[in-house]
């Protein structure tokens, strides 16, 4: 039992925190958020230069293989910094999925471009898709892909979409250029200020676009890693929301004293801390579970984490805004942005209820 972090892991965390502090202050983020693109390709390349886009990839493939814990620490720092860039979608989920596809010219080149921050590759999904949402049928010249996804984070800014499509009871994985004819994306912003899109596919891609005809396991692995990182992102966000609320409670004076002196608020802050620490524990457990061979146990830990972190996210988001009073309702402080990120957390990568049900089924068999 050891809850310390290795020197390498600590370095990754420090590096990410320095990046956030230097590049992603409140004003800088506001500029990115207000920009037409809604993200910063420059900072993305910088993340690539720092090696942070190669975390989840084995060294043999040019990655730095930081392992689940390294990824957790980076994701947590990015959640704390409210990053708008598609770190988890691209540098955790997509890289993991692609790296686990059979080696080959297309796959190797794509992976190299991803690690360098030259190609932004984004998956259509956040959980294993229900069979049939996107259908793949083999034709003479390639594969026909047809289907629709209503909410795909980062789709409008991607270079390549990673499409999981069903054929003959299996899940195949395709790399589809976003600008290909037959790819339609209706672009919008999400409630947590990300760029996203409604994606409709109706096109034929070449044989070489198919990274794997049987990618179910690779995708499962990718989504598992994405889910653990996503919990870490929320953890970072909750930490900052609580910290901001504590600072506000210390400085905001009403009735002649800082509001942090009112016992009713103190006890609510204490409960927030307990929830935060419980969420941290489940995030650690989820992260550890990625090295767990038994896939049922792993999925249980991940689902339990998503459910419990989701509950904590809602409670901490709501209480943080409430204890900020009117100031919590404005978008002039970090806290409202954390509120939105944490609200989105509950809706993404499978809902709190869906994961609680999965945990229940694993735990009780009913």
């Amino acid at each position: 039992m050891d809850f310390s972090f290795s020197e390498e892991q600590q370095m990754l965390q420090d590096m990410t925190e320095r990046f956030v502090a230097g590049r992603y202050g409140f004003e800088a983020r506001e500029r990115i958020r207000a920009s037409a693109a809604g993200w910063s390709p420059d900072l993305w390349r910088e993340l690539g230069e720092l090696g942070l886009l190669a975390l989840a990839v084995p060294e043999a493939d040019g990655g730095i293989d930081a392992g689940p814990v390294g990824t957790m620490l980076v994701a947590r720092a990015m959640g704390a910094g409210l990053l708008l860039e598609p770190f988890i979608a691209s540098a955790v989920v997509a890289t993991t999925a692609v790296a686990r596809c059979p080696a080959g010219e297309g796959r190797d080149a794509l992976l190299a471009a991803m690690l360098a921050g030259e190609q932004l590759v984004v998956p259509l999904d956040e959980v294993l898709p229900t069979p049939g949402t996107i259908a793949a049928t083999q034709e003479d010249t390639g594969w026909r892909l047809r289907g629709r996804k209503p909410v795909v984070y980062h789709a409008p800014i991607a270079d390549v979409l990673l499409v999981a499509a069903h054929h003959d009871g299996r899940t195949a994985l395709f790399a589809v250029p976003r600008t290909a004819t037959g790819v339609e994306i209706e672009s919008f912003r999400t409630l947590d200020d990300a760029v996203a899109g409604r994606v409709t596919l109706d096109l034929v891609v070449g044989m070489d676009a198919c990274l794997s005809t049987d990618a179910g396991e690779a995708l499962g692995e990718a989504f598992d890693r994405g889910l653990a990182a996503f919990c870490a992102d929320a953890l970072g966000s909750m930490e900052r929301a609580l910290q901001a609320t504590l600072e506000y409670a210390r400085s905001r004076v009403q009735f002649g004293v800082p509001i942090g002196r009112f016992q009713a608020l103190q006890h609510r802050l204490a409960d927030m801390l307990v929830q935060l620490e419980q969420a941290r524990s489940m995030t650690y457990l989820a992260t550890s579970s990625l090295d767990e061979a038994d896939i049922t146990d792993r999925r249980a830990a991940l689902s339990g984490a998503k459910a419990l972190v989701g509950q904590a996210a809602r409670a901490i988001a709501q209480e943080s805004v409430q204890l900020h009073g009117g100031m919590g309702m404005t978008d002039e402080l970090d806290v409202s942005h954390h509120f939105r990120r944490l609200t989105a957390f509950e809706l993404r990568h499978g809902s709190t209820d869906a994961h609680l049900r999965a945990w229940r089924e694993h735990s009780l068999g009913t």
Binding site: V151, T190, V253, Q254, T330, L347, D353
Partner: protein, 386 residues
């Protein structure tokens, strides 16, 4: 004990419903339903004029000032039917806040000058109570008003000014005696928003909208004649106003409307053919909040009944505020859950994004109008006697 409305009250309710079906313009109703605030000033004032033409412009005013003279039960029925029918909420700042103060403490001249504009839907009022450092602790307000002949000269800043960007008038609490104890040196003045020196700066909120403002006063001259009552006695009028602000504080009509919407969402089949309402966990949460709302309706009627007998609105309104806002906030969270991922698509017009907007916007309910923490303090001191 009889919980049902009288036959006369039921007849009245049906009359209100018929009127709403007939007189509420479809486009206004649609904009209210979809949270489309682009024409909010026109819509609210137009609706106020329609109500006024019917003689229902001020359900809570006495007849002598053009009000309906309705008892509390009819006011309750009227407001909740309006909310349930997606009518725009009547602007409270004139009708429910400054008007009762003008009626009770204003001079006959002030009453003649200001009240008709409110009820007839001509003047848009906003509130100038809160300041950046004076929210829950209102008496610590700092905005100065110095006497200069027949005028006061106002300097300072007001915050959390709701919809003041559309306002013609603002009522302000100002400090006319900086030496006095906090609650002693305050006066209550009415200020023309077109006065030179006023700057309105919108505050962007959590949900991306601009519903509140900062209002800056830089040597703004206000005639002394616009002062209500005595100089330095404003705290008395302020408290009177806050007591009247709390009518229909439970928001039953709004919660009923949102609950109906929630049920619509949850019973609509999703892409995969399933319905949220068939998930027993989700359905139970919906049923639970509906149950609490049902209880609150009865609690609200009990408070109305007691108020009618004791005349003054009592601290029981704090219970209605706490539970009413909790219920509406929970309904809005359930709407988001019912939409699931669709609620993420925020800048897309559609019910999913509306649900998310509602959820975020309504976090304000437990903060404004006396935060729920302040309401618990009121209950503690005035009901529980601790």
């Amino acid at each position: 004990m009889d919980l049902s409305f009288t036959p006369e009250e039921i007849q009245f309710r049906d009359e209100v419903r018929a009127f709403l079906a007939d007189a509420l313009p479809a486009d206004i109703r649609e904009r209210v339903r979809t949270r489309d605030e682009r024409h909010v000033r026109e819509d609210i004032l137009a609706w106020q004029r329609i109500l006024h033409a019917k003689g229902w412009g001020a359900s809570m005013w006495p007849v002598e000032f053009g009000g309906t003279g309705w008892d509390k039960t009819r006011q309750y029925i009227f407001e909740n039917e309006c909310a349930a029918a997606d009518a725009p909420a009547q602007l409270p700042f004139g009708l429910k806040m400054v008007a009762p103060v003008i009626m009770r403490f204003g001079s006959p001249e002030q009453q003649q000058r200001f009240l008709p504009g409110i009820i007839e839907g001509r003047d848009w009022w906003c509130q100038g109570y809160s300041e950046p450092g004076a929210g829950s602790d209102l008496a610590s307000l700092k905005m100065r008003a110095e006497r200069d002949g027949d005028h006061y000269v106002l300097n300072g800043q007001k915050a959390w000014n709701t919809l003041g960007q559309h306002a013609d008038w603002i009522f302000c609490l100002v400090r006319t005696d900086p030496e006095a104890k906090p609650q002693k040196g305050i006066s209550f003045v009415l200020v023309d928003m077109k006065s030179p020196g006023i700057t309105v700066r919108p505050t962007r909120l959590l949900d991306g909208t601009c519903e509140v403002n900062e209002v800056w006063f830089d040597d703004v001259r206000v005639p002394v004649a616009n002062r209500i009552g005595d100089e330095n006695a404003g705290w008395t009028y302020a408290k009177y106003l806050l007591g009247h602000e709390r009518t229909n504080i439970a928001g039953i009509g709004a919660s009923r409307r949102e609950l109906r919407r929630l049920r619509d969402i949850a019973t609509t089949p999703r892409a995969d053919g399933t319905r949220m309402i068939d998930d027993p966990l989700f359905a139970t949460r919906v049923a639970q909040v509906e149950l609490e709302l049902r209880a609150l309706e009865v609690t609200n009627l009990r408070v109305i009944f007691d108020e009618a007998r004791n005349k003054a609105p009592g601290p029981e309104a704090s219970m209605l505020k706490i539970r009413g806002t909790e219920i509406l906030q929970r309904i809005s969270a359930l709407q988001v859950e019912a939409h699931g991922r669709d609620a993420l698509a925020y800048s897309v017009e559609g019910s999913g994004s509306q649900a998310a907007a509602g959820y975020m916007n309504l976090r304000k309910l437990s903060i404004y109008g006396g935060s729920n923490e302040i309401q618990r303090n009121i209950i503690t001191h005035l009901i529980l006697g601790l």
